[in-house]
């Protein structure tokens, strides 16, 4: 039975495009992210500009610093 031609997939980045795409992905993965869940259990990602997200990020950074100090000291 003859094989059917493969369905073409989306074009992959190559060359400089591939490097840029990888850099963008890594940058996105390192970006701060805040997700909260209300009593209903629905996750809700807060925008980085949200003042609530800023307060949560500040508190989280202090918590991580304190935890690292406790772990090393």
């Amino acid at each position: 039975m003859p094989r059917l031609p493969r369905k073409p997939s989306a074009p992959r980045p190559y060359g400089v495009g591939a490097v840029t795409a990888g850099w963008t992905r890594r940058k996105a993965s390192r970006a701060p992210r805040v997700v909260v869940r209300e009593a209903s259990g629905q996750p809700h990602a807060l925008s980085p500009d949200d003042p609530r997200a800023e307060a949560l990020l500040n508190a989280a950074e202090r918590l991580i610093s304190a935890a690292q100090r406790e772990a090393t000291g």
Binding site: V34, V35, A60, L63, A66, Q68, E70
Partner: protein, 139 residues
């Protein structure tokens, strides 16, 4: 701890603890995940039940900033923070950047449920003392 083998049944002399205590809860969470750097258990009013006071200060600020949220997950460049609370307790954990959010959330929820199971914020001795006081008052 004393164990006796009696015809195929192991009998343990010490009764099981009625619920997880806050300090045991932290140790349990540490054993569940190697990504956890440190954690803290707070009462509903913010009182420290287990963990370091320095962590508790930041955890209280985090929970205050979370407003009505019951679960919080914050990822920063240095690590991740997971926090969950119910009517009686709140737990905040500082983890490495690659901790899995779904697992951390599940573990936190399970431990919170165990803590709520039988007065986890009190020690067995405190409960026994309260029971004695109530008996004396009734008599």
């Amino acid at each position: 701890m004393r164990e006796t083998f009696t015809g195929g049944v192991f009998w343990r002399a010490d009764p099981m603890t009625p619920a997880l205590t806050p300090s045991l809860a932290l140790e349990y969470l540490h054993e569940l995940s190697a990504d956890i750097v440190a954690g803290v258990v707070l009462a509903a009013d913010g009182a420290l039940l287990a963990g370091a006071e320095e962590l508790a200060v930041a955890a209280r600020d985090l929970l205050a900033a979370a407003e009505d949220a019951t679960d919080v997950h914050v990822t920063t460049a240095d690590g991740a923070v997971f926090a969950a609370r119910d009517d009686r307790h709140a737990i905040a954990l500082a983890c490495g950047r690659f901790a899995l959010p779904s697992l951390a959330r599940y573990d936190l929820r399970m431990v919170l449920a165990d803590l709520a199971g039988g007065g986890g914020s009190k020690t067995r001795e405190a409960e026994a003392a309260e029971a004695d006081d109530a008996d004396e008052a009734a008599a």
